[in-house]
């Protein structure tokens, strides 16, 4: 019974859905955008989420977490996605916390994880160095020194980069080559000197930043995991991120589709409901079908994390690519089927389009993941 939710999970889903609907409508994102909020997320909302344990949902109990499992996290991401909730869930709870849970030393864990669980610490994974997701080609360098590392280079489009307390930086250790083995993850306090942060204003109104490390001097204890297998750790964390993001996107596209469907049943032209036009009916039926496939791939990928399956990487790529393509299509249909009103900023549906393209390229476009699926399957 890996593809359906347990009773406990259904309870979580119900409460998450209700909470998000009440506390985090799309108007909250609109407000953050219009007010050019300094943080880019609602601290009040985040404190509610933290109270419910969401910040520590993936953190072991000994570090004050809930240890609820990855499917629970997926459920929350999906519900948060429905209203385009801006929060540190992806940056901190998925990518950040899991980097430390999977790769951190005891000291790193006990320093950081309880603070994450209590909502007092924001983490940001710094991977990409250009506009496309490309973890196979990392050139930010950590030069080994007597006491640790000297970090140089620029990371781009770092999620929540301008509010992070710590960066987790994917860097190439100077004396090591090879695309995987040469990589390490380094835990970098934002207060370390030599860090320059440029907050970015993206179309989706969500947080992103370019972060430059200019001769940033780090102690040896900055290393997450071992020097030699940082690539494996990074890839595992990225897959968790892809799956969680796919879950978020699944929620977003479902809400967009529900909005379309409601409009088809309400809007009249030529004296008829537009939902009675067969061409639109067929397109709606195809969207429905695509969403059903997305539900399955996301659920399978979430399960694979919980069972630590050998298929994890493959299912992560399957989930991200499938969800990318369906959301792409639905986000376009969302505007087209709404007609003129869909083009107005006043109406919420445009936010779903804007979020779509950024979510699509984040952590890998469809063509990236189709190529990876091919590599993983040996063809």
């Amino acid at each position: 019974m890996s593809m359906i939710l347990s009773e406990e999970q259904v309870l979580l889903q119900d409460s998450a859905r209700e909470f998000i609907k009440d506390q985090s409508p799309v108007s909250l994102l609109r407000q953050l955008r219009d007010e050019k909020d300094d943080f880019g997320y609602s601290k009040e909302l985040w404190s509610y989420m933290t109270e419910m344990g969401w910040a520590g949902i993936n953190i072991p109990e000994k570090y004050d977490g809930l240890d609820f499992g990855f499917k629970g996290l997926g459920i929350i991401m999906e519900e948060a996605g429905r209203t385009l909730t801006a929060s540190p869930l992806l940056s901190t709870v998925v990518l950040g916390a899991n980097s430390i849970v999977l790769g951190g030393s005891d000291e790193q864990k006990s320093t950081i994880l309880p603070k994450v669980a209590s909502g007092d610490c924001i983490l940001a994974l710094a991977v990409d160095e250009g506009p496309h997701h490309d973890p196979e080609n990392i050139s930010v360098e950590a030069k080994k020194t007597d006491t640790g590392y000297l970090l140089n280079g620029t990371k781009q489009f770092v999620i929540d980069g301008h509010i992070a307390d710590y960066f987790i930086v994917a860097a190439r250790i100077s004396d090591q080559a090879g695309s995987l083995t040469g990589l390490s993850l380094l835990l970098v306090d934002k207060e370390t000197s030599g860090i320059h942060i440029d907050r970015l204003s993206m179309v989706d109104g969500r947080n992103s930043a370019n972060v430059t490390f200019d001769n940033v001097s780090l102690g040896a204890s900055a290393l997450l995991g071992e020097e030699k297998n940082g690539g494996d750790l990074l890839y595992k964390v990225l897959d968790l991120g892809r799956i969680a993001l796919a879950a978020e996107m699944l929620g977003t596209m479902q809400q967009a589709f529900d909005t379309i469907l409601a409009y088809l049943k309400e809007r009249k032209q030529f004296g008829k409901l537009i939902g009675s036009f067969q061409a639109l009916q067929h397109r709606a039926a195809i969207m429905f079908s695509d969403i059903e496939l997305c539900k399955s791939v996301v659920m399978a990928a979430l399960t694979a994390v919980e069972t630590n399956s050998d298929d994890l990487a493959q299912l992560a790529s399957l989930a991200k690519a499938t969800v990318n393509d369906a959301y792409h299509q639905i986000s376009n249909e969302a505007i087209q089927m709404h007609g003129g009103i869909g083009m107005t900023d006043e109406f919420d549906i445009g936010f779903y389009l804007k979020r779509a393209r950024i979510a699509e390229v984040t952590l890998g476009s469809s063509s990236y993941h189709r190529r990876r699926y091919a590599n993983l399957n040996g063809y």
Partner: protein, 394 residues
């Protein structure tokens, strides 16, 4: 649990003894049987295997023993299936009797009908075909015109059916006929009769892909006793809808199984590989991923629905997508194959092509019917839009 373990041991032992070795090899096209009165068997093991499974009732594991079935519980049936799969046993026969009219008779048949027909279906003694579609009435099945007029204790049937699979080889037919011309859906009756009856004739249909199992079937004053009506007179539409459910489930299952005999990845590797053994053209590789990932997503959805059904949740809306996605995907699979194979995948016959290449070309053509037979993609989309999404014709 112990009972089930015992049952499993029993099945395993029985299969070890009774499933002939050649029946554990992949199916060969000309060794497929549909059973029936006049069947001949190219491989004598096929006959043996069918007889043994039929006598045991395991061709219809869930049917009651009194009608020749296996009388097994769902759990036992599952174990039987697992064990058959474990030894890669061939399916004993292809049978519309087992898959379609049998289940319908169990629900709607008279005691007399069950006694007469079900045991012969189980043992493969009588083969069945389906008289539904008519020329001019494909998607609009309920428009059918074949007339059944009362004449004492009989009906006299006149008309024409089309797309009757194996009509030229089957012993009996279950047919939809019009018993009332005043109303459309409410004037249809399901009736059974022997294909050897006077006035029945058939003509095989040649498809664009070559010879097929489909026939046109003609009824010219065919006399059928009234007791052969299934369910109530004029209630055939409800009966047939129940039956079409069984058909759809079987077609979906077929489509799912198809990539086991037809591996697009192998074709890509055989025709488009570089020196590293990987597909060298990135465009071909991307297309292949699209197909395999869609297939993967569909299989996971199938799994999700199965688990949901077991857990007692309603899965009708999700399973409404299987038929058309499976059909479109299978067409895409063959388009990919012939694209990868180039002109070598476009042979009709002759020694310049391997049998496999010729198969691909013919099956590519045959695949075009996937989105037509058993409900067109358009009808599937209509159904999803209306029944699942609640969009109405206003």
């Amino acid at each position: 649990m112990t009972d089930l373990n015992e049952f499993q041991q029993e099945v395993r032992t029985w299969l070890e003894v009774n499933c002939p070795a050649s029946m554990r090899t992949p199916m060969v096209a000309d060794e497929v049987t549909i059973g029936g009165r006049d069947t001949t068997f190219k491989n004598p093991d096929t006959k043996l295997w069918l007889e043994r499974m039929g006598n045991k009732g395991w061709t219809a594991p869930t049917w009651p023993k009194k009608y020749g079935g296996g009388g097994l519980s769902p759990q036992e049936t599952n174990i039987l299936k697992q064990e058959l799969k474990r030894i890669k046993a061939r399916v004993p026969m292809i049978s519309f009797g087992l898959w379609m009219i049998g289940p319908v008779l169990l629900e709607y048949g008279t005691e007399e009908q069950k006694q007469e027909h079900l045991p012969k279906i189980v043992r493969g003694e009588i083969s069945w075909c389906q008289g539904y579609s008519e020329p001019g009435y494909g998607s609009d099945l309920a428009g059918l015109q074949t007339r059944a007029v009362e004449d004492g204790e009989d009906y006299i049937i006149n008309g024409q059916k089309v797309w009757t699979s194996y009509a030229d080889k089957c012993d009996w037919i279950y047919a939809l006929v019009r018993t009332n011309t005043e109303v459309k859906h409410g004037g249809i009756t399901m009736i059974l009769f022997d294909m050897a009856s006077t006035g029945v004739s058939t003509r095989p249909i040649k498809l664009i892909s070559g010879l097929s199992s489909f026939c046109e079937t003609f009824f010219d004053d065919v006399r059928v006793p009234k007791k052969n009506v299934v369910g109530e007179v004029n209630d055939g539409w409800a009966v047939s809808n129940r039956l079409l459910q069984f058909e759809r489930e079987n077609i979906s299952a077929d489509v799912f199984a198809s990539d086991e005999v037809f591996d697009v990845r192998k074709i890509a590797k055989d025709y488009c590989s570089g020196s590293d053994g990987k597909v060298s053209d990135p465009l071909v590789r991307d297309s292949l991923s699209k197909i395999l990932m869609k297939d993967h997503a569909l299989k996971l959805t199938f799994k999700r629905v199965m688990e949901g059904t077991k857990a007692g949740s309603s899965t009708g809306s999700t399973s409404s997508i299987f038929k058309f996605i499976g059909a479109e995907l299978n067409k895409d699979r063959y388009e990919f194959a012939i694209d990868a194979m180039g002109q070598q995948g476009m042979g009709w016959e002759g020694k310049a092509f391997t049998p496999y290449q010729l198969d691909v070309a013919h099956e590519w053509l045959r695949s075009k019917a996937n989105s037509i037979e058993g409900g067109t993609t358009e009808i599937n989309l209509n159904v999803i839009a209306k029944r699942v999404l609640g969009l109405r014709d206003s």
